[in-house]
Subunit: 366 residues, 2 copies
Amino acid sequence: MTRAFNFAAGPATLPLEVLQQAQAEMLEWQGTGCSVMEVSHRGKQFEACNAEAEQDLRDLLAIPSNYKVLFLQGGASMQWAQFLFNLCGSNPNGDYILTGEWTNRAVAEARKLLPLWGGSVNIVASSEDRNYSYIPDEGSWKRRKDANFLHICSNETIQGLEYNFIPEQLGDVTLVADMSSHIVSRPVDVSRYGLIYAGAQKNIGPAGITIVIVRDDLIGKARPDTPRMFDYKLMADNHSLLNTPPTFGIYLAGLVFKWLKRQGGVEAIERKNIAKAELLYGYLDSQDFYYAPVEKGSRSRMNVPFRLKDESLNAKFLAETEAAGLVALKGHKAVGGMRASIYNAMPMEGVQALVAFMRDFAARNG
Amino acid sequence: MTRAFNFAAGPATLPLEVLQQAQAEMLEWQGTGCSVMEVSHRGKQFEACNAEAEQDLRDLLAIPSNYKVLFLQGGASMQWAQFLFNLCGSNPNGDYILTGEWTNRAVAEARKLLPLWGGSVNIVASSEDRNYSYIPDEGSWKRRKDANFLHICSNETIQGLEYNFIPEQLGDVTLVADMSSHIVSRPVDVSRYGLIYAGAQKNIGPAGITIVIVRDDLIGKARPDTPRMFDYKLMADNHSLLNTPPTFGIYLAGLVFKWLKRQGGVEAIERKNIAKAELLYGYLDSQDFYYAPVEKGSRSRMNVPFRLKDESLNAKFLAETEAAGLVALKGHKAVGGMRASIYNAMPMEGVQALVAFMRDFAARNG
């Protein structure tokens, strides 16, 4: 068995200990005589597993008791519509900040639905002018006081941008954040947000679960045409077990949360993530064979796009990294170049190996 | 490791060979240096895995080429709304047949949405009068010629009913079937249906994938307020990879399809399923300590509800079966008594062990 250092943006690398435990329990789980995939979601073992995963996430992020935690399906992409159905019962006006691929897709969904419901979409700020290489300064934002919500993507996976601040509260406007690619990588003041959502397949577990954290006064007011399975209130009342949930995914997310607690929680993992990011960005800024296109102050600790000055070497770089066991470094086609995703489960050794390779590659090809 | 015979209704028992392969590949899959959970859904390995799972399902059910096969999320419960958004672009009138818990829930969703869209729900037939113990005779159905669709659940998991016929075509009315709990347990003439959907967690794989098989002339006509992630056309155009799919679930479903092909396909598995069902129903009808509440001619081969004449023995029966490694026999609370779900992955030996235990229990307690 040869494990690679896997820099994929998601689905992404998982902690080896977690995979080993899942492997050991694959044929029999907790004395049930069955795999965790084979037991009823209504049985006491799985209900306990589900409740424990929720509690561990609450502990890790210090989620206040007036917030519901939901384990849903469909990915962040489903939430682009689902949160609109839930939040826009009376006011279908949404403010959005455009910072790259994911916010553009969220806006596309809102531009489809909100006008049909008598509302509108307002682009508060955009960094399209410089190819989504920065988070627009809050002072320049043109927000609506009577918007229902302000939507941000607090870490743009493809462009490699990350907010280093939380937007100010404006009147009753609900702050909504897509945190898919940096949730549980750092502490977050949940109380500043009305709604947080995140696909699991970066920092939490396998693809197929979506985390929703929502303040309880925002639920129970969904539009009348909301599909039952979309309704946060129904899901919350049923502890995410309104229908059969993705049981294996919840189990695996639970193992990741336990692993994260063993690492010392999100404060400790943040220190490691800072050290990994500093090592990689520090190297990128120290030479001129490669460069990082994202402006300082907006750079993501999780997703690090970089480019070779001589792009004709891209194919060679990718072939040699793969051969060296440093995999999935090709950048997203919307951006080009390279991207190293260095989520919680990427050890410092992986980043060190990448930097050592890059240094050597530059020496041989510079 | 002690594997039980697991009679759970879903999530349900999986083929041991499939779990063993998943276990062996848990840390490294196909030479990628990663688990299948950790690789990109856009990479060539996973795209091939996804395409092969689709092709194997097409082979197993002889799905005509003018049908799309989609791997979605959210379970059958999500489809109750999703298929309405897709099919009811112009005609929001749905006919339903009520045969138990699952059809009642599908109708609840339609009663919520169709009137808001200017349409209505018509109950064509119901077996509520005799506690959902039979499939209503087709001669008694009151269908609408101008309905958009007729919806059936061709196997009611909780009540244990199964259609032994396909409803007649009426004008242009699209036949829609929830086949969650008996898909790939028998051959099916897909061409008689416009839309088939099924949660995976009975006969196909882990919870968290939903199979949709839809005739291609029915897609691309969704309502304007359809969430993008609900749109069968967008999903079909992207081979179910519109966003990150539940990769591990698709992989595991693919392993189950391969296993099913090794068993000889759905014709061969049907013979085994008939033999298992005949053994269990034959025993139930041969004595009077237990009885099967479902009327002959409507009995499911997959889900076999049964009751003890003396219900005061229920707790003892359940405790002793659990101790004997015959697990998850408790009936759904809506029905009571016992239920043995004997899906494809339940070997004949499991049914033989159950019948032997029941015979012995009756002798000791009769």
